[in-house]
Symmetry: C2
Subunit: 425 residues, 2 copies
C-alpha cells in the first residue's frame, strides 16, 4: 500500500477513538503538545536549519525563506496557539435542534467531527501545528501534506507532537504527515474517497485550482481573493482614503487585501489625485483605466504626474496581485461598480464606502461574496478579527462554510432518533 | 456557445433578479405555476403520452413506465406540492448571528440563496416541478437536466412553468431545461464552475458516482443507502420483527430501506427463525451468513426450511438491493455489528433495537451515519417524516448538509459588516 493510503487508513482508525474522547481529554492533549514544542525547541530549530540551508542553496527568495524560518519566538507562538485552542469552546456534541414528531419519535441534530481531514498546504511549518491542533480539538484526525521545502521541519514537528500524544488519550496516529514530496501524493489524496472526509487546500491560486479540478473527495475551497473597494459619489474622502490605504498597504500579501479601487466619477473628480498619491507614496504601483490615467497625468503633484501609471488591462482586473500594485477604475454608477465586481470578483470580500444608506443596502444585498462591508476595510475578513478565536481558513465557496472558518467548520452533524418501536405506515 | 453554457448563463443572470424579490413575490409565482399545471393539464398529459409510447416501443420495463407516467391525479399532486412549498417559511434573509466587535464593527450572518442550482436526475417528471419549486422558493435559479426518457414531458412542463412565470416577478429564465440528452451535456454541467454554484444529482448509484467522479462544481451527494438494522441481545422480539419488516418490506425501492439485518447470536438463537419466516412470507429472498443458513435449514417451518437461503457474499453485503432481498448475519457482539456497519454502510441510516441504554448510546455515538436510530425503522429518514415540509434529497455526505435536506440546504450564508471607517491596525 502507498504511503498516502497507509497513513490515511491509520488516521481513519484513530478517528474512531477520537470520537469517544471527552472535551477535557482532547484539551489536555493539546496542552501536552504545546509543552512538547517548548521542550523540544532545539531539535525543531535544528531541523528547520536543514530546510533553510536547502532553500538558500536552491536560490529560494528571501521572502519565502522568511516564511519557512522558525525562531524561538515563532515556536513559542505556535505553542501558545495550541493552548488558546484548548481554551476555546468545543462545538462537538452541541445539540443544534431537538424536536418530537407526532408519532413520538424524538429527533436530535448534534454536531459531530467530520472524521479525517486532509490538509494540503505550502511552505509554512506553522500550518502543520495549527491544523493539527484545530483538527484534534474538533475530534478529527488529520493527514497533513505540506510543501517539500519544509519537509525536515514538518517531520520533526510531527515526531514531537506524536511523541507527546503517546502520553495522552489522543492516539498518536491521529496526526499523519505525508513525507512524499511528489505531486502524485497530492493527487492520490484528492481521490481518497472513503478514507478522507474532506480536503482543505491552503496556499496559492494554483494549488487551490489543482485541488478543485482533481478532487473527488469533498473540498473546502479557501483563499483566493480579488477584493474591491468602491467609493460611492457620497463617500467621505478621508474615510475612503483611510480604508483604501489600509486595504491595500497594511498587508498586501494576504487574500483579504484590496486589488482594485473603484471610484465613482464625481468622487474621482474631487479626490482621485490625493487618494492615488497617498498610495504611490507607500510604494504602490497604480494601473488605471483610461479616465484614471488621464486624470493622474493632468493633475496632482510632480511626483504623481511623473510616476508611471500603466493602463490596466482586463487581465490586471482579474489578477490577485498580493503585492504593492492596485488597479484604479472610474465608474459612472453603482450599477457599473456592481457589474465590475460581479465580473472580476472572487466572492471573497467587497466594500462600499458611502453616506447613502440606500446604496449601502443595495451593495450589501446584491454583491455575491462571503463578506460585504459598508465603511470598513476588507482586511477584517479573518477568524480572529471576527472573534472566533481560531481560523482554519477563509472559505470562498458557498457550501458548508463561507467566509472565515472557525471550529464549527471542522464539524458535521448527525441525526439521533429515539423511538419505542415506531414503524412507517 | 453550447446549449448548456447558454442556458446556465441565462440562469445566472436571472439569479440577480431573484435575489431582489420579496418572499411574497416568490410565493405568488409558485402559486401561479401550480395553477398553470392544472389549466395546461391536457397538453402535459399529451406530451407525456409521447414519452410513454417511445418507452413502450423501446421495451422499457413496466415499473419504469409507471415512474414515467403522468396522470391527472399525479399532476394535481405536483401542483399541490408547489402550493405547499409556497406556504413554508422562506429561510432566505434569516439572521443567523449578529455580534458587535470591540472596534464597533457590527457583523451579521444572514442566509442567502446559493445562486444557480444544477439538478441532474432520471426519468421521473415530477422531479422537474419539485426541484423548480424548491429552488425558486429559496431565491435560486435552476438548470434542470432530466433523463431523455422523459424529455417530451419535461419540455412541456417547463414551457408551461416558464409561460406562467411571465406574469410574475420571477423571470422565466429562472428555470432552464437542458434538452440535449447526450451524456456530454451532463459532463459539461459538472465543469461549469462560475456559472453553477452547486450540482445535485438525484438518481441511482451509477449517476451519483459519475457526478462525484467528474464534477469540479461543488456537489451535494444524495441517496445511496445500504442501511442496517441490528438486533442486540436484549432486543424485544416483537419490536425487532416489526421494525425489520417495516424497514425491508414497506417500500424496498428507496434508499432508507434495510439491506442487511444483523442479529446478536443470543437473539438469533431465540428468534431468527420467526423473523426470517415473516420476511420470506412477504416475498423477501434471504441471503445469510454461515450461521444463518445453518439455523434456518435446521429449524422453522416446512416453508422456511425449503425456501432457498443463499449464502451471502462480501459483494451482497456491499450491494444496495432496493428490492425484496435481505442479507441476514449473526454477530457475537455489539463491536462486531459496529465493525460490519463501518465496513459496508454508506453513512445513510442505521438502527439498533435494544433494551440496553448503554448499547443504544454507544451505537448512536459511534456509528458514522446521517441518521442513527434507537428502536425505530430507518424508513423515517425523510424530509416530510422529519417535519421539514419539503425535501430536496437525502445527503449522505458530511459537508454542508447531512440527512434529509429541507429548504435551508438550498441556501448559503453571507457576512454583512457595518462600520464607520474602521481599518485594521
Amino acid at each position: 500500500m502507498s504511503e498516502v493510503r497507509t497513513k490515511a487508513a491509520l488516521a481513519k482508525r484513530a478517528a474512531v477513538v477520537m470520537n469517544r474522547l471527552t472535551k477535557e481529554q482532547k484539551n489536555a492533549a493539546l496542552r501536552t503538545m504545546a509543552d512538547a514544542l517548548m521542550t523540544e525547541q532545539a531539535s525543531i530549530l535544528e531541523a528547520n536549519k536543514l530546510d533553510l540551508q536547502r532553500g538558500k542553496d536552491g536560490g529560494t527568495s528571501p521572502s519565502l525563506l522568511d516564511r519557512l524560518a522558525l525562531t524561538e519566538e515563532r515556536l513559542a507562538g505556535m505553542a501558545e496557539g495550541l493552548r488558546q485552542v484548548a481554551e476555546l469552546p468545543d462545538p462537538v456534541g452541541d445539540l443544534l435542534e431537538e424536536f418530537e414528531r407526532p408519532n413520538g419519535l424524538r429527533v436530535q441534530k448534534v454536531r459531530v467531527p467530520l472524521g479525517v481531514v486532509g490538509m494540503i498546504y505550502e511552505a509554512r511549518p506553522n500550518v502543520t501545528v495549527d491544523a493539527a491542533g484545530l483538527c484534534l480539538k474538533t475530534g478529527n484526525t488529520v493527514v497533513l501534506r505540506g510543501g517539500s521545502a519544509a519537509i525536515d521541519s514538518n517531520r520533526r514537528l510531527i515526531a514531537v507532537l506524536q511523541a507527546a500524544l503517546a502520553g495522552t488519550a489522543v492516539p498518536p496516529d491521529a496526526i499523519q504527515l505525508i513525507e512524499d514530496g511528489d505531486r502524485a501524493s497530492v493527487n492520490e489524496m484528492l481521490k481518497l474517497n472513503g478514507l478522507l472526509d474532506v480536503v482543505i487546500p491552503r496556499g496559492g491560486a494554483s494549488l487551490i485550482r489543482t485541488v478543485v479540478e482533481h478532487a473527488t473527495v469533498p473540498v473546502i475551497e479557501t483563499g483566493a481573493g480579488i477584493c474591491h473597494t468602491y467609493a460611492d459619489a457620497s463617500a467621505d474622502a478621508t474615510m475612503l482614503s483611510d480604508i483604501a490605504y489600509n486595504a491595500k498597504v497594511q498587508r498586501p500579501s494576504v487574500c483579504n487585501s484590496m486589488e482594485t479601487l473603484l471610484l465613482h466619477e464625481s468622487f474621482a473628480d474631487r479626490h482621485l489625485i490625493e487618494v492615488a498619491q497617498r498610495l504611490q507614496e507607500a510604494g504602490v504601483e497604480i494601473r488605471g483605466c483610461e479616465q484614471t490615467v488621464k486624470r493622474l497625468s493632468l493633475g496632482g503633484s510632480e511626483a504623481a504626474r511623473t510616476a508611471q501609471v500603466h493602463a490596466a488591462s482586463d487581465e490586471d482586473y482579474a489578477t490577485e496581485y498580493n503585492d504593492y500594485i492596485v488597479n484604479i477604475r472610474v465608474v459612472y454608477s453603482l450599477d457599473e461598480a456592481l457589474a465590475h465586481i460581479d465580473k472580476y470578483g472572487t466572492k471573497h470580500s467587497e466594500c462600499i464606502v458611502t453616506a447613502s444608506e440606500d446604496h449601502a443596502h443595495r451593495f450589501l444585498q446584491e454583491v455575491d461574496a462571503a463578506a460585504v462591508y459598508h465603511n470598513a476595510s476588507t482586511r477584517f475578513t479573518d477568524g480572529f478579527e471576527f472573534g472566533f478565536g481560531a481560523e482554519i481558513g477563509i472559505s470562498t465557496q458557498k457550501l458548508h462554510a463561507r467566509g472565515p472558518m472557525g471550529l464549527p467548520a471542522l464539524t458535521s452533524t448527525k441525526y439521533r432518533i429515539y423511538g419505542s418501536g415506531q414503524v412507517r405506515g
